[in-house]
């Protein structure tokens, strides 16, 4: 698979192409973190996050590559690692000052939503994830999930979203998150 082919396949949402890309640049990308005071685990983490960012931009059609794919991913890795180093530094300073603040409200809301998503069926999860994360068109969702047509995909998405909204609202009410 050449660069162009990999990119095209990723844009179409081919996860195998993403796996291939992951293996292809693994050493190059992780070396960046390791040679900048990061551990192997941190390096892997950063590289995986960078690829997820890349995937999201490519599949949603928000990416026009003007450089080599590796150069682009490398720059995402650099940014992510810089942010992580800043976060570590800030955390270390806050610990010294004793000024660590935890936004428990936000964390609690995130936990509720994650729990509600878990309660959905696999197809519902996929439809909603493809819609909000990959920003796929209804046609692409229908193709990917084997729906008869875009109307079926639309209806499925509507029903799944309604179900998730209801689950979240119910949980929010319980926790007094709804004003």
């Amino acid at each position: 698979m050449n660069e162009k082919e990999i990119f095209e396949r990723i844009c179409k949402g081919d996860e195998k192409a993403l796996e291939f890309l992951y293996q292809k640049y693994y050493r190059m990308m992780t070396k960046l973190v390791i040679s900048n005071s990061g551990t192997e685990e941190e390096a892997r983490d950063v590289y995986q996050d960078a690829l997820v960012v890349f995937w999201q931009k490519a599949t949603s059609g928000n990416l026009v590559l003007t450089s080599k794919m590796s150069t682009y991913i490398y720059s995402i890795c650099q940014n992510l690692w810089r942010k992580e180093l800043d976060r570590k530094k800030r955390l270390s300073n806050e610990e010294k000052d004793g000024s660590v603040t935890l936004d428990t409200d936000t964390a609690e809301r995130e936990k509720i939503i994650a729990k509600c998503i878990d309660q959905l069926g696999e197809t519902c999860k996929k439809v909603l994830m493809f819609y909000y994360f990959e920003e796929m068109s209804m046609q692409d969702i229908a193709d990917k999930l084997g729906f008869a047509n875009t109307d079926t995909a639309k209806t499925k998405k509507y029903k799944c979203k309604k179900k998730l909204d209801d689950l979240v609202k119910a949980q929010y009410s319980e926790h007094d998150f709804l004003d």
């Binding site: 050493r27 070396k31 390791i34 892997r44 997820v52 939503i113 998503i117 998730l164």
Partner: protein, 283 residues
């Protein structure tokens, strides 16, 4: 209360599906509608949760992809060791490369194999019996035990004096030492004018022919990996006929120079002929 239509637009807004104009219009509407703002907050949290879940799913997928171990930073000693190992490998490679070159060079230098032979030279072999070896039927020819006088077109007078066949045993080693030297005979070979010359060259690079021979432009080409100094070319002269054999790794091969076609080397199986040839070689 947020209307169904506003909720739909809100969903498109959260899902990044509005164009710039629609987006601006919706944001204007948002600014004046507290209820819509509240709905937006919840919808953004839900969409955020879905995005996070999908990102985690993809990340998990990548975590399960097998990758080769990372190159660890070796210690100084380790690095020295690596360099030493690398140098060793490079050295070995160079050694084998040069040796290979030697092996290949042997056939190339086989102008050693150039055989300058006295066609009428008297056979120095121990046996007194002459061997006549016709090219076509060597085994039958060996049955004839009568002495055969070698003949040359240029030196007929020598016929009378030469009672025996000339059996030339080529010694590549000796040739290497002095490529201009005539083929050795125990007796003197004064008839230099009647010398015949065979130039043999080996070619180990030919992919098609790996154990073949060819007479071309007065030269003998041996195709295959003939080890250095392990082959001999034997020439027999009788009645103006030349018969040649190749001796290589305990086998004899008839060399037919009647055409310039490439022919395969087939070992002679006839035990009587092999015995005779062995005797000629002095074994």
């Amino acid at each position: 209360m947020v209307s169904e239509k506003d909720f739909e637009t809100l969903d498109h807004y959260v899902g990044n599906r509005l164009n710039a104009q629609e987006k601006a219009a919706f944001e204007q509407q948002l600014a004046n509608n507290a209820e819509l703002q509240q709905a937006l907050t919840v919808q953004e949290q839900i969409a955020g949760g879905l995005r996070k879940a999908r990102a985690a799913e993809l990340k998990q997928m990548l975590k399960n992809v097998p990758v080769s171990a990372l190159p660890t930073q070796p210690s100084l000693l380790g690095r020295i060791g690596l360099w030493a190992a690398a140098a060793g490998v490079a050295g070995s490679g160079l050694y084998f490369y040069l040796n290979q070159d030697d092996a290949k060079a042997v056939p190339a230098t086989s102008p050693t194999t150039e055989i300058k032979q006295d066609a009428t030279a008297v056979e120095p072999a121990p046996q007194a019996e002459a061997v006549q070896v016709p090219a076509e039927t060597p085994s039958n020819a060996l049955n004839k035990t009568e002495p055969v006088a070698p003949k040359t077109a240029t030196d007929k007078t020598e016929e009378k004096t030469t009672e025996r066949n000339t059996i030339e045993v080529y010694d590549p080693g000796a040739e290497t030492e002095n490529s201009n030297a005539s083929t050795t005979t125990t007796e003197e070979s004064p008839r230099a004018s009647t010398r015949s010359t065979i130039v043999a060259e080996t070619d180990a690079t030919n992919k098609k022919y790996n154990f073949h021979y060819q007479f071309r432009e007065g030269k003998l080409f041996l195709y295959g990996t003939f080890e250095k100094n392990l082959y001999e070319i034997m020439e027999f002269f009788a009645d103006n006929k030349r018969t040649m054999f190749l001796y290589y790794k305990d086998n004899y091969y008839l060399l037919n120079d009647e055409s310039d076609k490439v022919k395969s080397l087939t070992p002679i199986k006839d035990p009587a002929l092999v015995k005779r040839l062995n005797a000629s070689r002095g074994h």
